[in-house]
């Protein structure tokens, strides 16, 4: 069993406008904590619907021992009223919490999750329309306090039905990843690691573009040498240009801008192009990309030279798992591994 995640201490506002002290309100209960937003097209409604469907089939006592807490990562649109109405579709007992983007980001960072990020909607969409990239896993805090299990996207009702009654009774479900993986996870695996000198490039992933103009490129580079190296250029066969960008907080907003510092792979260390931080920006797109497609990628390093590899294109919902989240229903093994975000 890995390192448990301590139950966080935070207070946000519930859908009735009252302060909700997470630690106090969920003390002695199982708390299923999830960060998402009501305009989410896939992960959020699926998690909520599946948990609600299973809770509805459980005994009153077991159900009463579980609190489902949904923290919005889109406070601009998810007003308390909107959030309440949305949650009521699934289960009126679900707790909806709102806070400022700063507050919510801090909580996520404390849990080892990357802060949510705003993404452009499809071309031609209303200016008020946008997606929010967010962590896709439900963190399950046990009745004794800390979380020992996380439930990534892909968990099924049968898995919840197996685990929730056990959690409700204070028993740890078996930590073996027995849950059924999602149908296409097997097909959406990154290419094998590419080794070039001291550099090892792995987990090269491109999310299915949410607009026709651009998408991102994520990867991991390990440096086994004792001299740092720098990624100086990226080329792909899917976009006219590939540049290094960064995401950072400006006030309460997450903004994207060209990376203003070299992307260094430290000696005997590793560096990630990952959601929420430095990443490759591919634009303009030269061809449409669908899940399962591949993109030829050429990385130029200052010392290591050119390294060729291939990125797998994955739906956003699969991004975390393909980038390196633990197996379905894996025990929390430490902050980074537990969250699947980097």
């Amino acid at each position: 069993m890995g390192t448990p995640i301590a139950r966080p201490d935070f207070t946000l506002t519930d859908t009735h406008g009252r302060p909700f002290d997470f630690r106090r309100e969920t003390e002695g209960k199982v708390a299923l904590l999830f960060f998402g937003y009501t305009n989410c097209p896939d992960v959020c409604p699926l998690h909520m619907a599946n948990i609600a469907a299973v809770l509805a089939k459980m005994s009153f006592d077991d159900r009463d021992a579980i609190r489902t807490i949904f923290v919005t990562t889109d406070p601009a649109r998810d007003t308390p009223g909107v959030l309440r109405a949305w949650l009521d579709q699934f289960d009126p007992t679900f707790v909806g919490l709102t806070g400022t983007a700063d507050e919510v980001d801090r909580i996520q960072l404390a849990l080892g999750l990357r802060p949510a990020q705003r993404e452009a909607a499809a071309a031609g969409a209303d200016s008020g329309e946008y997606f929010v990239g967010h962590a896709a896993q439900v963190i399950a805090f046990g009745r004794d306090g800390p979380a020992r299990l996380i439930y990534p996207f892909g968990i099924r009702q049968t898995d919840w039905a197996n685990d929730l009654p056990l959690l409700a009774r204070g028993t740890m479900p078996r930590a073996s990843p027995a849950a059924t993986p999602t149908a296409d996870d097997g097909a959406l695996q990154p290419d094998p690691d590419v080794t070039a000198g001291d550099l090892v490039v792995s987990r090269v992933v491109v999310p299915v573009p949410s607009t026709a103009e651009r998408t991102s490129l994520y990867l991991r580079v390990r440096n086994r040498g004792d001299v740092a190296d720098t990624l100086v250029a990226i080329q792909t066969d899917a976009a006219g240009a590939a540049t290094l960008h960064d995401q950072r907080m400006v006030g309460s907003s997450m903004v994207m801008e060209p990376l203003d510092a070299p992307f260094v792979i430290p000696a005997l260390g590793e560096a990630w192009l990952a959601p929420g931080g430095a990443h490759g920006m591919l634009e303009p797109m030269l061809r449409p990309l669908g899940a399962g497609d591949h993109v030829a990628v050429s990385l130029t390093f200052a010392r290591g030279g050119v390294v060729g590899t291939r990125a797998i294109v994955v739906p956003y919902a699969r991004l975390e798992s393909v980038l390196g989240a633990p197996a379905v229903r894996a025990p929390a093994a430490g902050r980074d591994d537990a969250t699947g975000t980097r």
Binding site: P41, D42, L46, A53, A161, A317, R318
Partner: protein, 268 residues
């Protein structure tokens, strides 16, 4: 661009999606059946046949096209189990018999000149054998592990679609086609065959019962698909089960009615 429908995990909207493989398949199938009819007419020295056969061929092709292309094919391949079931019924229970009806008797008689093919057809379309094969195909193609494994791939999805078409053709062949001749398989027996095959098949009943009464969704493809607002996964699965049960019965009733009136007319 995809050439055939498959599970995409892209949130559903009503944006049109193109499936050139489906179009090509439909065109090739239609042209081949027309050419088969034309060859039959040439061999018989007469191009006259009942006009409804051309209509059946056109209608069968249209139903098949609708079932395979956007939006039915798209929804069926990655969003709704109920549409998946509707697609199955359209392909195996509506398009297949219509396409068979669209083949003229003259064209069918060309099969008699192909001894090997006729032997295979004779065995496969024996009513009992056809029932068994059809049920095997239904059972296999509605097993969760098969659906969840094949649906994400275009090739796998196409395999399921073609299996349904082949299974439907095998099932309807003894009812619709006069080649190979089965003089003992008279209309009242055909009515019984439809009752067994479409209303009281243990596989049909089993699959629909599993879908309707299962505590949890059977297919992860649909359970984890981007949700369609207002449609819960459980309701979707239950609707799929009901459609299989009620829809199969309704199609059987239509077939039985046609057979009954034809039998009444010819025997009276």
């Amino acid at each position: 661009m995809q050439w055939w429908c498959s599970t995409s995990n892209i949130p559903w909207d009503w944006s049109w999606r193109a499936y050139p493989g489906v179009w090509l398949f439909i065109i090739v199938l239609f042209v081949m059946l027309r050419r088969w009819n034309a060859a039959g007419a040439r061999a018989a020295g007469s191009s006259s046949f009942e006009p409804w056969r051309a209509a059946a061929l056109g209608l069968g092709t249209a139903v098949l096209w609708i079932a395979l292309d956007w939006p039915v094919g798209t929804l069926a391949s990655g969003y709704l189990a109920s549409v998946h079931m509707a697609q199955f019924m359209m392909i195996a229970m509506i398009a297949a018999p219509l396409l068979l009806c669209g083949i003229t008797p003259q064209a069918m008689r060309l099969l008699e000149g192909r001894a090997g093919l006729l032997r295979v057809l004779t065995v496969m379309t024996k009513p009992v054998m056809a029932l068994v094969l059809f049920n095997i195909i239904i059972a296999i193609t509605h097993t969760p592990v098969v659906v969840d494994t094949l649906m994400p791939s275009q090739l796998g999805n196409m395999a399921i679609d073609l299996l349904w078409l082949a299974g439907g053709a095998i099932f309807w062949w003894p009812v619709v086609s006069r080649v190979p001749a089965r003089p003992k398989f008279v209309d009242p027996l055909k009515i019984g065959y439809l009752i067994i095959g479409l209303m009281f098949s243990p596989v049909n009943i089993g699959v629909s019962a599993f879908l309707v009464y299962s505590r949890f969704p059977l297919f992860s493809t649909y359970e984890l698909a981007p949700p369609i607002p207002g449609v819960s996964t459980v309701f979707d699965h239950q609707l799929a089960g009901l459609m299989m049960s009620v829809g199969g019965g309704m199609i059987a009733m239509v077939g039985m009615s046609i057979l009954f009136f034809r039998w009444a007319r010819t025997s009276g």
